[in-house]
Symmetry: D2
Subunit: 337 residues, 4 copies
C-alpha cells in the first residue's frame, strides 16, 4: 500500500488531534516528524504515536527529504509564512484556517502555491461533518430544487478569553468565517453582497476590543438565493450549530448533536439533552474525515476538496461583513475583492 509521509507542525490542541487521526485512523499516512516550539508536548505525542523525529524547528521538517506533506497547526500569524516555505520546499500542505487575515497576504500565498504546483488544502473541517456533508449532498442532488433561502444558526457556548479576542480579527473573521464557508458550500453559489447588523450584548469585553458578540448577517448569492446567519458568542445551553436550506422543491435542515438521546417526562414537562458544548466534541468526526480526504487526494493525485481559494473567499466575506456592520449598509463583495 502506498503511504504518504507526513510532518505535523504544531502539536497544540488541534495538532494533537490531526496527529492522532493520521497515526491511528489513516493507514495510508505515516507521520515521520512533529515540530513544536514547546518541545516537551511534542515529545509526549511522538512517543504515544510512535513518531521518530521530534524537533523545535519546523524547518527541520521542511528540509526532510522523506516528508511529502505537512500539516500546519501553528498559530494563525505563522500560517502564511509556513505555507509559503513548505510550498517552496515542495511539500503538499494542509493548513488550518485562516491562511491570513489580509487578502493581499493570502493572494501572495496562493501565487506561490500555483507556481510550485503543490497541493494546498484548507482546514474547513465542518464540510466533512456528516450532518453538513449530508445537506450539501442533498442540495447538490436537487432534493430541494433550486435553493432560495439559507439560514445558519451558529452560537458559541462561551466567549474566548480577552487576550484571544484581541488578536482574533473580530467575530466575522474568527467565528462567522466557518459559516461563510459553509454558506458557499451548501448553496453552491458565490456570495455577491453582505449586510451585517451587530451588537455587544454578551460581554463588554468585546466592545473594549472593538469587536461584537451578536450578529445577524444577510448574504445575497449570485444564483439569487438569500441567506441569513445569526451568531452569538454565548449560548448558555451549548454549542448551537444548525443549518437549513429552503428551495423550490423542499427544505432540508440539520439539528444539533446532543450529549445523549434521553428525554425525561415529569410533572414539570419533558426534559432532554443539550447540544454538545465543545467544538472538538461536536466536530470530532469531521476532523478525521477531513484528514483522510487530504491524504486520499495526495495518494490519488486528485484536487484537494478545499483549495486555498476557499480560504481567500471566506476572509473576503468576513471583511465585507465587518465593513457592512461599521457603515450600516449592504456591501458588495467586489468592493472587497
Amino acid at each position: 500500500m502506498k503511504k504518504i509521509n507526513v510532518g505535523v507542525i504544531g502539536t497544540g490542541r488541534i495538532g494533537k488531534l490531526h496527529l492522532e487521526n493520521l497515526s491511528v485512523s489513516i493507514p495510508s499516512a505515516e507521520v515521520l516528524a512533529v515540530a513544536d516550539i514547546f518541545l516537551e508536548g511534542a515529545e509526549e505525542m511522538a512517543e504515544k504515536f510512535g513518531v521518530k523525529t521530534v524537533t523545535r524547528d519546523y524547518k527541520e521538517i521542511l528540509s526532510d527529504k522523506d516528508v511529502e506533506a505537512v500539516v500546519i497547526c501553528s498559530p494563525t500569524d505563522t500560517h502564511a509564512q509556513y505555507t509559503i516555505e513548505a510550498a517552496e520546499a515542495g511539500k503538499h500542505i494542509f493548513c488550518e484556517k485562516p491562511l491570513d487575515l489580509s487578502l493581499d497576504k493570502i493572494r501572495e500565498v496562493l501565487d506561490v502555491i500555483e507556481k510550485t504546483g503543490v497541493k494546498l488544502m484548507m482546514g474547513f473541517n465542518r464540510r466533512f461533518d456528516p450532518n453538513y456533508a449530508k445537506v450539501q449532498q442533498m442540495v447538490r442532488d436537487g432534493k430541494i430544487g433550486e435553493p432560495h433561502i439559507l439560514t445558519i444558526t451558529s452560537r458559541d457556548p462561551s466567549p474566548p478569553p480577552a487576550e484571544y479576542i484581541a488578536v482574533s480579527g473580530g467575530m466575522f473573521l474568527d467565528m462567522t468565517i466557518h459559516d461563510f464557508d459553509m454558506a458557499r458550500f451548501v448553496v453552491g453559489s458565490e456570495v455577491s453582497e453582505v449586510y451585517a447588523k451587530t451588537n455587544v450584548l454578551v460581554d463588554q469585553v468585546f466592545k473594549e476590543a472593538g469587536d461584537v458578540d451578536t450578529a445577524v448577517t444577510v448574504l445575497h448569492f449570485e444564483n439569487g438565493a438569500i441567506g441569513s446567519i445569526d451568531n452569538s458568542r454565548k449560548a448558555v445551553y451549548g454549542y448551537d450549530q444548525r443549518l437549513e436550506v429552503f428551495g423550490s422543491e423542499g427544505m432540508v435542515k440539520i439539528d444539533n448533536n446532543t450529549h445523549d438521546t434521553h428525554t425525561l417526562f415529569n410533572k414539570e414537562g419533558s426534559q432532554g439533552s443539550l447540544p454538545l458544548d465543545f467544538f472538538m466534541d461536536r466536530y470530532l468526526e469531521s476532523y478525521a474525515i477531513e484528514m483522510e480526504a487530504f491524504i486520499d487526494s495526495l495518494i490519488n493525485d486528485n484536487d484537494v476538496p478545499v483549495p486555498g481559494m476557499d480560504g481567500l473567499i471566506s476572509v473576503a466575506i468576513g471583511l465585507a461583513a465587518k465593513k457592512s456592520a461599521r457603515e450600516n449598509r449592504p456591501v458588495k463583495l467586489n468592493e472587497i475583492l
Copy 2:
C-alpha cells in the same frame, strides 16, 4: 351571566369562523345579526347558528340599539370606514387586520376610536396561538434572560391568485405583517430599524405585480436585540411557521403543527408528517381564543389585548421593509412614522 350582543359584518371564510366561535364556544356572546352583501351565504350561516337578523346592509347592524360590539370581516378596503362608522355608532369593534394600508388613514381611525372611547381590537390571531403565546409568556417571564436574537420562519404553502396579489399591498403588508406583529409581541420591544433583501424566485407573477415572493428581513429592536425573518410564498411541504428567541439565559423555539405524529422507518429512511398546509387549520384554535379574549375584555371592561396601535405599527414596519428593499439600505422606523 352577562352576555355581549354582537353583530358580524362579512360572512366570508373568516367571518364564518368568528361566527361559529361566537355562537358555539363563547357562552358570554350572543350573535344578534349578521350582514353580508352576498345575502344567501349570510342566511345559511344565520340559520345554522340561530342568528335572528340577517341583512345585506351593515348599517342595519350599526343602527341596532341592542348590538354592543361588531366583528368586521369584510374586505380590507372597507375596514377603516366600517370601523369609523361603528365607533361613531358607539359599538366596540373587533377588526380583521390590516386597518388600512395607509398610515394616515389608520391614524384617522385611531383618532375616532380615541374620541368615541369604544374599544378596538385588531385580529392578530397568532398572538393567541398556544405555541406563540407560550413563547411570549416564557420570554416575558425571563426564562431566556434578555432577548438577543429573534428568528422567524414564515412560509406560505402556495402563492395566492394573481388578482389577489395585485391588491394585497405586497408581501410585507400582506404576509410579513403577521411576523412583524409577532416580532414585537415576543421580543417585547419596539422595532427601530429594518433591512429587507428580496427576490422573485417562486413565480414571475409577483414581478409583474411589482411584488416579491422571497425575502429575508433584519429587524433592530430598541432593546438592542436583532431579528431575522425569512419568508417565501411557496413551501411545497406546507405552511412553515416557526419562531425562536435566543437570549442571555437560554433559547426557546416552537416548531410547526403537523397533520399527525406518525413516523415511518423503512429501508429508505424515516418519514414523518408534514406541517398543516392551510392557515385556518393551523391557526384554528387561535381564532377561538382571540375572540374569547375580545368578549372577555368587553365583559370585564378591560383593555383589549391587541389595540389599534398594534395595527398601525405593523403597517409602518411593513412600509419600512418595502422602502428598504427598494433602496437596498436599512431604513429607520422614524423615517416612516
Copy 3:
C-alpha cells in the same frame, strides 16, 4: 340534502360532545330530541343547539316516528337494554362502549340487532383519531410489510374516583379495552391468546376494589404477530398514548399530542411540552370524525365502520386478560368465547 334525524340519550360529558358535533359539524344530521334523567342539563344543551324536544324519558325518543337514529351515552349498565329497545323500535344505534361487561348479554344484544336489521356502531373513537387512523392505513397499505410486533403504551394521567373503580369492571374492561380494540384494528388480525402480568403500584384503592393499576399484557395474533401493551393508571406527565407496529419491511409509530410545540434550552437542559392530560382534549377530533362516519353510513346505507361484534371481541379479550392475570398463565381466547 338528505338529513338523518337523531335523538341523543344521555347528555353527560360525552353526550354533550356528540350533541355538539352532530349540531355544529355534521350538516347531514339533525338532532330532534335529547333525553336525560337530569332534565336541566339536557334543557340547557337543547337550547344551545336548537333541539326542539327535551325529555326525561328516553322512551319518548324511541317512540318518535321522525327519529331515525339514536346515540346512546347513558351509563354503561343501561347500554344493552337501551340498544335492544332502540333496535326493536327500528332505530339505528350508535352506542358508547362497552355494550355490556357480560358476553352473554352482548350476544343477546347482537342477536336482536341481527333480527331487526338496524345498524349498530360501537363508540371506539380512537380508531378515528388521525394518528391511529394513519398507522392503521399504513399497515393495511403494506408500508411495513407483514406485521410482527405491536407495542402499545397507554397510561392514564390519574386514577378515577374509588366509586368509579368499584363499578368499572376492572382495568382491562375499563381502560385496556380501548387498547385491545386498537390492537386488532391496526394489526388486522384476531387475538388468539392473552397473557397479562399485573400489579398494584399506584394506589392501594385498586387493591381494595380487587382491581390493579399497572399491567403488561402480551397478545398473540392469529397471523403470528406478537403484541405488548403496557398500562398504568397514573402517568404524572399526562395522558400517554403511543403505539408502534413493527414489520418485515419497516416500522411505524405515533407519538403523543402535546400542549404546544415549544422547546426551551437553558443551562439545565432542553425542556418541552407534555402530552395533553385529558382524554377529551386528546381525542377531541376523533369524536367528531367518528360521529360523521356513523351518519355517513346511514346516509349511504353502508356498513358501519365499528359493528357490534367489535364490542363483543374487545370484552372477550378483556375477560381473558383478567383470567390470565388471576391464574398467571396465558389464556387462549377460545377459552372465553
Copy 4:
C-alpha cells in the same frame, strides 16, 4: 503515573477494538502482549499499536510475569477455561460475555475467581453507553420515583449467518442477554419471573436451528415492577435500540443514535435519518468507557463495575426465557438458579 500492563487474548473484531482503546485512549494502560491463533492479524495489530510481544499461544501471556490483567476476546466456548487459567495465574480479567452458556460452568468459574481473589469484569458494554448510563443514573437518582414499567426495544438490523445461529445458544442467550442485563441495571432490582412469547417470522433458518427470531418477553422484578422486551432479528431500518422506564414520578426514555441529524421536507413528507445499523458503530463509545472503567478499578483497587455474578444472572434469565417460550408459561427464576 501508575500503569496497568495488559495482555489481549483474541484479536478479532472486538479484540482489535479493545486493543485500540487500551493503546490510544487509556493512558494508564500498556498493552504488553497480544495472542491469537491467527498470528498474522495479531502481528498487524501489534505493529500498529506498538505491542512488543505477539504469540499464537495465550498461555504465553498468562505466564508473563509483567502482565497484570488480561482481556479475553476469544470465542465464547473458550471464555470459561481461559478465565479460570488466567485467574489461577493471578491475572485480573476482563471477559467478553457470556462466560459460558451453562450455569454450572459459570459457577465453577466464579468459584475460582473467589478463591484466587482476582477481579473479573464482564463485557456488558451497553451499561457504559452514554444513553443507557444516563437512564440508569436518572432512575437511581429518583428522577422518575419508583420504577413501575420497563420497556426495551431491541432489534438487530439483520440475522447472523446460519452457522453462527447454530452455535449461538439461541436468541435469548445470544441477543436478549444484553437486554436482560440492561433491565436489571436500569430498574435496580432482580428479575423474579419471566414469560416469553416467541415466533419465527423473519427467516425459516431460525426454525431449522431450533431457534426463534421474534419475541416479546415479560419480566417481573422483585420490587414489583413489570418489564417488557421486544426483539426481532431483522429491522430493515437499522439497529433499533431503545429503552424506557416509567415510574411513580415520571418517565425517562432514550432514542436511537442516527447517522446524522438531517430532516428533509418535501411534497411527500418529512424524511430523516435512520438508526446506525452496526452494533460497533452504535456502541463504539461504550467500549472505550467500559475498558477505561476496568483499568480504573485495577488502578484504584476498586470493585469492577460489572462483576462475574452479572454474567451468571443474565444467562439464568435467558434460560428461564427459553423454558418459558418452550412451555408457554411464566417461569420463576428460582426454577433455574
